[in-house]
Amino acid sequence: MKKLLSLLLVLVMILTACSDGETQAPQTPETPETPGSAEEQPEGTDGGKYAEEQVYKYTYAEEITTLNYLINTTWVDMSVAANLIDALAQYDKYGILQPALAESWKVSEDGLEWTFNLRKGVMWVDYEGNEIAETTAHDFVSSAKYILTKANESESANLVYSVIKNAEEYFNEEITDFSQVGVRAEDDYTLVYTLKKPVPYFESMLTYVSFFPVYGPFLEEMGDQFGTANSTLLYNGAYLLTEFEPQMQRLLTKNEAYWDKDNIFVKELNYKYNKEASALGGELFKRGEVSHAIIPPANLDEWMTNPELKDKVSPDRLGTYTFFYAFNFKPNFDAEYEPDNWKIAVNNSNFRKSIMSSFNRVASMATEDPYNPEFRIINTITPPNFASQDGLDFTDTGNLAKLNDVNFFNEDEAKAYKEKAVEELTAAGATFPVKILMPYNTNSSYWANEAQVVKQQLETLLGTDYIQITLLPHAPTGFLDGTRRAGNYSLMKVNWGPDYADPQTYTDPFERDGNYNFPEYTTDVNADGKNLYDVYEAMINEAKAEVIDLSKRYQLFADAEAMLIDNAFVVPYNVSGGDGYVASMVLPFERPYAPFGIATMTWKGAKILADPISMEEFEAAQEEWQAERNEALKEASN
């Protein structure tokens, strides 16, 4: 026995000894200290408002899959890349586009040719900060060529070929000569994009990963290993990824060679991986080990009721992803749920409106945000602060402006609509109760709760002799293909995120042959007897064609969106609430803002605060920011 035990112990020691050697080998011996962090100037703290040590620490639960920003467009992956690579232009904290790698640009009169004058002396450096080459116009050509090569599986290819001349043909291998594609370097510092049609929002697309540069010779050298590690990537942005160990940590250190380094105040972004970050984040924040932590709704009570913690929690800034409930006009579900009956019902506007006006959105939103459910609710599909023209926010434009203060939820109206619907639907041959199939994704407990609330609330108000809602839980595997895209639902919460800064992006879900709620199948007509979708489509087409008078363009889009909502094709629900509630040492309003894309993931101008933000501070800062943004927008449009 003794022999065996000692044998075992020896074995264990040998094994651990071996593995010790192996794991420690790749470890960098010197942990890179931030240069200059010791000689912090006290005046940098702005009278104690900001922390002396400008280091951001955070624990994250989802690891990036790749650093190859040319192929991947997921939020997590881009949030790192956005800080490592610079774009031609970037947004400031009010969401106004500012020059970055391009110092200036001009567009030809026909709106097709965009010429960019690049900043000189911006260097590509490796992860240790060694200079490799200068960033030139050729790097944008290399990037476009890589993205448009089918075999590279780039997820942003469609964004590029939606605007650039001959790009789609090259992607589909109809032409093989890349010089025919609308991107060329006239010299090292002059870059020209040729578009296939005038695109009023082209500038905004430049801030996105699909128009990031890449150093061609390096890309070629790395082959398919480009971006698989911090050493197989070159940097010209605000930070270097000095350490990157998947499922462990990443360390971003300020790039001392960055052209705008004077506006980068946070010297180090220190991320540690923890799969249970949402459970542990709050605890880590209390101990001062992280600068920012998500407080999940389940833990929110603990923070709100504790006098010591109450002032350390605040909402996160609102995002631009929107959620809305969609009525399906092309039901494709089991006969058990009576798709033909649903088809009759959904094409009756009084029926749709009865659902819309009996939907208490605040009540269902409380499942996710019990403290301030109104904060995220919106009356439009395009969220506020997304796009504006002449200083006027898109949601305050045209017919959309009328929807701003309307409360859709109205019990009396709901009952009146119901009465009319019952009469008309009976005449049309529908049977009651109308069966409503409502799927949700089982990966989210909030969604499950919300679906329950919506079902209960609608059935109670309208009566189960009128509607009968069946909840359809669906596993996350193949969720979209199994529900929305297949038309396997009657009423469902869906979402959409913008691709560029123009109201057109929010019309994509309602395009003919789309896969959202198939509005082109409607048989409902307006007062003049015209098919509602035909009317809508005509408005959209007119708006899309208007590329010169942008005020008119915005108004046309706004009217079209208002029409969808007025006719209850969809019920607007909420705008994404970022991370919900957070404990944070960073004021989101000091960070760059953008209506879409990646600017909100960057750090230019931001500083770490000395104390956590409270609810009151957040609200005051938000108000101040909103006023300043409105000013800035007006100024920019002049």
């Binding site: 624990t59 089918k150 998947p246 799969k275 080990e289 595997t477």
Partner: protein, 312 residues
């Protein structure tokens, strides 16, 4: 020897069947799962990626390619978990990390568990037995998730230990190892006590006592040895299985091991990674069982595997 050869062959066959079934099952997964941004992509883009991954080929071609590269000892590249990174590179560090934690905790569990179990058997019905029973019941009754969290939050506070694992800071290794060991100690203590108590009631112990042997000798030379035989069978598998890590302890303490990797790989539909892990874990299972039998035979000369004719 012949027995081992046949058994090895049979194990190999099992392995191939398992890996093939998993391979085919993965091909039945919905294509949506291969994309992180499915909703924003064009049909052409989706087609292009599926084609690159070889997923549009008939299944037998895919299977042939898979075994072909396996022959060349190539496990391939990850496809969604960390695209284009070699599987061996992803697994290498992770396996070693999990192995280190697992082996250290297994050693602690064995030493502590066996000692506790022996004490309990020796002083059956007295203090040690009662103390041990309390501990065993506690460790098994309270869900591990709960006391892991309590340990992590309160013990770190109490002893000023770091909350998360840091490879360069040995202090941060203590609590994960403690967590990993707690339940295992109870497990080993419970079983060794049981087997020993069984043995103690047997005739040969009485005979030994009657012969006037010292209690200590009886315990160590006879009872212990016999009681350990059933445990020996599972020991090699336990040791090997440490490479699969612990899902919850590793994710709580941010240990970059293999715990939960298989689950993640399946969720993300990283076919190559799933295949590699299934191959690894199945081999371990098969080899572990075999080593267990050998070890058992070594401990107890009465057991002869070859005469049993491969009934196992």
């Amino acid at each position: 020897m012949k027995y081992y050869a046949i058994r090895l062959l049979r194990s190999f066959l099992t392995l191939i069947i398992v890996v093939t079934i998993v391979f085919l099952l993965m091909r039945l997964m919905p294509i949506e799962g291969y994309f992180t941004n499915y909703d924003k992509l064009d049909e052409v883009q989706i087609e292009a990626k599926l084609e690159n991954l070889g997923l549009l080929n008939p299944w037998y071609i895919q299977l042939k390619d898979f075994y072909g590269s396996l022959m060349k000892r190539d496990l391939g590249q990850s496809i969604t978990y960390r695209p284009k990174v070699d599987i061996t590179k992803i697994l290498g560090d992770k396996l070693i990390t999990s192995l280190r934690f697992g082996l250290v905790s297994l050693t602690i569990s064995l030493v502590m568990g066996l000692s506790l179990g022996i004490l309990m058997a020796r002083y059956k019905g007295k203090f040690w037995d009662k103390f041990g029973t309390c501990y065993i019941v506690g460790a098994n009754a309270i869900p591990a998730v709960i006391f892991y969290l309590l340990i992590q939050v309160y013990l770190t506070d109490l002893f000023k230990l770091p909350l998360l694992y840091d490879r360069t800071d040995a202090k941060s290794w203590i609590l994960p190892i403690l967590c990993l060991s707690l339940v295992n100690i109870a497990y080993y203590a419970m079983w060794i006590r049981r087997y020993m108590v069984d043995e103690l009631n047997k005739d040969y112990v009485r005979l030994a006592k009657a012969k006037g042997l010292k209690n200590k000798d009886i315990m160590l030379k006879h009872v212990m040895r016999n009681a350990f035989v059933p445990m020996a069978q599972y020991l090699p598998a336990s040791i090997l299985y440490t490479v699969s890590g612990s899902i919850y302890v590793e994710s709580l303490f941010s240990i970059p091991g293999t715990g939960g990797l298989l689950v993640t790989a399946i969720q993300r539909q990283d076919n190559t990674l799933v295949q590699a892990l299934v191959l690894l874990y199945s081999s371990i299972g098969i080899v572990g069982l075999m080593l267990g039998d050998i070890l058992m035979a070594a401990f107890d000369p009465r057991i002869r595997l070859s005469h049993e004719g491969g009934s196992r």
